[in-house]
Symmetry: C2
Subunit: 259 residues, 2 copies
């Protein structure tokens, strides 16, 4: 069975995008991990199916390991561009993801995606922990570009608190007024060039810690630049959270579905 697909990336976070509006595809976990394999398959951080049920446009997201995953911000932004090209969505609208409906808008060629509210920010030693659609642990460090990221992140990801469910782990340094971050993603179990929910968590963490005062925070990730805007509330929650950045169509292709 020959499957048409498109390959997208958002600041270096890359995705296989498949139009499944006819609901022909029922992918097994092993097929998804094979398609996402960077040597034997197409290669990607994740795979996204476009589905429509009862006129609701739905993004069905899987990690590279083939398991259904929590919300992916960059995946959602790429999904918007994919749906616009197919004329399934226009420049403003909303779609359904695993954590609920996501309004979006396209402004000046950048895709802005509304993220779920952050109701609680937990303090763990000198780090903060929150859920921005996916769970994120955020620590400030010196020399963020030089740290031994994998080893440092695994100490958190596999500690008593997180080993069962896993957590994403972010390291932040503010240099010359710019928030630089690096993210270790569970599921990928490696550093990625960009993580949208991670950038969102880092921007909110820096605001909650008083490290930045703006309500629109540019965040430099390894693969480019994202902008996070939000509204802080008196009860410590954050609402009206938007993730903004570029999306890139890399190629269109057709592949045989793996056995």
């Amino acid at each position: 069975m020959l499957i048409p697909f498109n390959k997208y990336h958002g600041t270096g976070n890359d995705f296989i995008m498949i139009d499944n509006r006819e609901l022909r595809l029922e992918l097994k976990q092993s097929q998804i991990s094979q398609l996402c394999n960077r040597r034997f398959g197409i290669g990607a951080d994740g795979l996204i199916l476009l589905q429509v049920q009862n006129e609701v446009v739905e993004m069905v997201y899987y990690n590279a390991d083939g398991a259904p995953s929590s919300m992916c911000g960059n995946g959602g932004r790429c999904f918007v561009t994919f749906c616009q090209k197919l004329e399934v969505l226009s420049e403003n609208g909303e779609f359904l993801a695993v954590d609920g409906m996501h309004p979006f808008k396209m402004v000046d060629g950048l895709v802005s995606l509304k993220m779920g509210d952050v109701s609680a920010i937990e303090t763990i030693n000198d780090a903060v922990y929150m859920d921005t659609g996916s769970p994120h642990y955020v620590t400030m460090v010196e020399d963020v570009l030089e740290i031994d990221l994998i080893n440092d992140a695994r100490k958190v990801r596999y500690n008593n608190r997180f080993s069962a469910e896993g957590t994403n782990v972010n390291f932040v340094e503010i240099m010359d007024g710019v928030t630089h971050i690096r993210t270790y993603e569970r599921g990928v179990e490696d550093e990625t060039l960009s993580c949208g929910t991670g950038a969102t968590a880092c921007a909110i963490a820096m605001h909650s810690l008083g490290e930045v005062s703006e309500l629109e925070v540019p965040v430099k990730v390894l693969g480019g630049k994202l902008i996070i805007s939000f509204k802080p509330n008196a009860d410590g929650s954050y609402t009206d959270i938007w993730l903004t950045g570029p999306t890139t169509t890399v190629f269109a292709g057709e592949t045989e579905l793996p056995a």
Copy 2:
């Protein structure tokens, strides 16, 4: 400019293949490295152009870093399958690569490629060094699947003898009669899942050291299995060398040429 391409792999060694018979493409090094980038581009160990000049079919091979490279055995085997699909070559024939003409044949779905003769095998301490189209350093080790390959290989690749030109570095262990190898490739500057010229060098090295007596040696690489056959000569040279293994078409695509 929209470029059609095909993606192949040979035992996990993967290539972007482009039909350039009309000689429309003149790729810059930066464009090739962008196309081979696994996050921002298509992603591959190398890029191969099919060209035909004066009725001679030519494989033009570039490493993932965008530089023209020495011979690539798995790339050559994938090139044969690509050319057969385009009906540019049949099931037997030959093509031109950077190190000369390469006869090939397809038997039982596997592609066999004739490699250049090995005229000299140099002994360096307890390792051997030879040119199988690309330079290869071969050492026997214990627990080949457990070694710290990158660090061990870099001690050789960047030593006084090799630092300027570079060398590929192979580690071999014979387990239950099967030759297991792992290869660090210069240019990629990392381990790859399979290296055809490396597997060829390892099989000949094992024969020259008396570790195997067969003239047809199965070699297990991380990405699958290759078979190397050869004729040893009284003067220490090896001729009639053939590299055999599977090739896989992964997908067909179209991409914009990067700026």
